[in-house]
Amino acid sequence: MSRLHRALIRDLWHLRGQVIATALVVSVGIGAFVTMVSTYQSLARARADYYSTYRFADVFAGLKRAPDSLAATLRLIPGVAAVQTRVAEDVVLSVVKLAEPATGRLISLPSAAQSGESLNRLYLTAGRYPSPWSDDEIVASQTFARANSLSLGSRIGAVLNGRWKVLRIVGLALSPEYVYEVGPGMVVPDNRRFGVLWMNAEGLATAFNMKGAFNDLSLSLARGASSKDVIDAVDRLLAPYGGFRAYDRTEQPSNRFLTDELGEIEVNATYIPAIFLAVAVFLVYTLLVRLITIQRSQIALLKAFGYSNVRIGMHYLEFALLIVALGLTIGLTLGGYFGAGLIGVYQQYFHFPVLRYRLGLSLILFATAIALAAALGGSLTAARRAVRLPPAAAMRPEPPRSFRAGVLDRAGLIRRLDTVTKAILRNLARRPWRAALSVLGIAAAVATVVIGRFMFDAVNALMAVHFDAAEREDVTVTFNETRSRGAVTSLRELPGVLRVEPFRAMPALIRAGHREKRVSVLAVPPSGTLRQLIDARRRRIEVPPGGLVLTRKLARILGVVEGNHVLVEQLDGRRQQFTAAVVRLSDEPVGINGYMDADALAGLLGEDAPISGALLQVDKSREPALFASLKHTPAVAAVSIRSATLATIRAIMNRSFILMTIVMTGFGIVLVAGVVYNSVRIALSERGTELASLRVLGFTRVEVGQLLLGEQALLTLVAIPAGCALGALICRLLVPAFDRELFRLPFILTGATFGFASLVTLGSAAAAGCLVAGRIARLDLIAVLKARE
């Protein structure tokens, strides 16, 4: 080991506090990057493997009823590789340990003859497939079974087309169609109250009068085929059979959620590491500049001995590289650890046969390259200073810091301040860039904490709007087919029902020019109070007697504004078409819908059975009796219970958002502490003599501490509002990423969030400052009488 290398190690040891603080900031940046990217890669890989091995279909379509023979015709569509026809029905389930009724999706299994080319294959985790002749054996989704403590041999009651039937679980499975197993209209999975069940095609078809027919279609595409062309062809073929518009994987709910989640991870993988590495560059730079200043005479000596500029420049580059290497090592370890942890969290929501955490070599190399770039970014300019120092100048001590009356003095701004404050302000004004970068670093930390709480605030606000203003019903009942108005009467007779508001949810294709969207047009009675349309300020919008109200997001998708006309194609019943004016736009935060007055829609369609479900307000004390009878009500296909949905969302929020808050707060603390600790250490190094002489003059440790820490305290106080603003800005930029069809996050940050971020920042700044302030006690008072540094 050369002398210079030994010196390097001694310097690192001597400056260990700052070295560690800087390395930690690097490690958070690298750690966050590695966590996010490795999680992304692991999920994406698991998805790709799952989809290809279990033949996840490319195009999906629902329809009313078509003969099995149509499959052969569908197979002839150019670009179609395989066709799978099935029967799929939503039914109400009665699960033993669950008071409320659950919703089950019954899907037919391909017969043994078909299974060769079947799509969306199951991954059987336990048990077996139903025996060919059975009509009560089912394979249950493993997720649903686990959530309800069901196992092989357990029984589930179900109302199949009006007839009560007990189903027996003989197998448990996962399906690529339900990686994210979420019920219709739900944003978060409620695995207790929604589950997928597979049974023999024969039994299911018999129960639903679908023998020789199908109502669900999956297709796989040949390599290079256009999904759009195939979808158009499928739609044409299915139109006579009540087809509800085919869609590709991008609209397949489970895949859509998974894709959105991956997109979110990608966003997080960019800006969080970028913030930290930028701050790390700044810290490396200031640390190195200070080190070079202290070592001026040493540098001169080396040059005088004949060390080359390159060798000396390299010495300081190596210093930076070693710090960053330490950060990289910690970051890779943290990244691997948290990545594996995050995959564990995702396993609760996304169900893959195999979801293995994998931290690939290429990612490690990439992270190393980023860290290297940060090290060079911070050290090149600084090292150039050392190189440029002429040997003679380097031998002289650092010239005294010159101050002159600056803007602050000329403007008379600081005349009235006390002397300590003046000294602090002038020190800051003398190096405005360093002060600005410190503020930026601390502000980035504040912003990090704010961002960590944003989801919590926004989802809370979304839920308040959604559940308090928009959807106020206790229970939503969906019938298995449209019913006459008489159905309302029978619902009213159920125990505990206080109010019934019928609705018609009509699947429809809304077209505007060349744009189109498959949605549900919801017709509600004008007197209704349970489902309200609201504007951006949560004020109620009346459903107009004629014309259409569209969710603002839907209007954007269709490219229409209030006053435009759209073409509405009914996708069920008699498949009629009509043109309607867009009278208003509504701002409910969940889902996209069209809304119409119930009488207006019934008039247009001329239906005599215009009810597809009802919203109920119920007496809480009689809920058990209501639920018990809903479990056995023949006409009901699905029941959704507001309190259960709320509880599920709350549970998920608590789990994931608290974790997010903790992690981001931790990141913020590292950042504040890193910046403040380094700044104060550098200030102490620059002004140690000054401060020690004040101690000699009789200043107490506390007074000297104020002078030392005052600067950072001031910067922190400036950085807090700046960081709150920065955090709000970043959240504002993140909001479009959450402007989705399923839900739209509002841009809302609460005072509590800003208060929390401010307190965390103040606390960690104070802790970091005090850590250094402890060194004031160790200032060498005697040395200052003699030495001139």
Binding site: P400, R401, S402, F403, R404, A405, D418, T419, V420, K422, A423, R426, N427, R430, T689, E690, S693, L694, R695, V696, L697, G698, F699, T700, R701, E703, A777, L781, I782, V784, L785, K786, A787, R788
Partner: protein, 230 residues
């Protein structure tokens, strides 16, 4: 101020250094005392102990009713704050504060301070109040430092080689200021130097050698700072 049997021993690595060996000394209010000695004679160590920056290994140091020899950091800080002024060889002004503000920094924590402007005028810097240290010459900086030390009306003023980093005329100017402070304010001035010529202006000269007092010499008449030369 009484010093009784004060010794100071340092450990420098493996070696024990006896910086002071049994010093006995009494300093009277209003005196101007010069402590002479070569480097390594222990004069700085003695000054540190008198000034409340360090405590002796053995012996007792008393200032009025304070016992400094076994005081803790808090008590020593109070002693320095209330009774002591320091003038350093390298001035040690705060570069970010003007001359006036450097003085104000100290008067803000003192109980019976002199007006900062007045004390700066007294050291001949009435026209340099708003200059920063980097805009002042060495002598001017040292006079600001003296003004800073005097502004809180210290009972004792310790000066460690106050002319050590100044040229001859500037050094003399600084000595004049110290002399005037001793005469006009009645401050006990303790001045350590290796410059023998300065001894002429003292009431008493204490010569240190190898950590012991080699000689105490009382000047029957003191030369004025103007009169001495080196």
């Amino acid at each position: 101020m009484q010093v009784r049997g004060v010794s100071k021993t340092y450990r420098l690595g493996e070696v024990e250094v006896h910086a002071l060996r049994g010093i006995d000394l009494e300093l009277q209010e209003g005196e101007l005392v010069v402590i002479l000695g070569a480097s390594g004679s222990g004069k700085s160590t003695l000054l540190n102990i008198l000034g409340g920056l360090d405590t002796p290994t053995r012996g007792e140091v008393r200032y009025r009713d304070h016992i400094l020899s076994n005081a803790n950091d808090r008590a020593l800080t109070r002693y320095r704050r209330e009774h002591v002024g320091f003038v350093f060889q390298f001035f040690n002004l705060l570069p970010s504060l003007t001359a006036l503000e450097n003085v104000e920094l100290v008067t803000e924590i003192a109980a019976h301070a002199i007006s900062p402007r007045e004390v700066l005028e007294r050291v001949g810097l009435g026209d340099r109040l708003h200059h920063f240290p980097s805009q002042l010459s060495g002598g001017e900086q040292q006079r600001v430092a003296i003004a800073r030390a005097l502004a809180k009306r210290p009972d004792v003023l310790f000066c460690d080689e106050p002319t050590g980093s100044l040229d001859y005329p500037t050094g003399k100017r600084v000595l004049e200021v110290l002399e005037r402070a001793n005469r006009d304010l009645g401050t006990l001035v303790v001045l350590i130097t290796h410059n023998v010529a300065i001894a002429a202006m003292a009431n008493r000269v204490v010569r240190l050698s190898s950590g012991s007092i080699a000689e105490v010499h009382v000047n029957p008449t003191q030369a004025s700072a103007e009169a001495i030369s080196w």
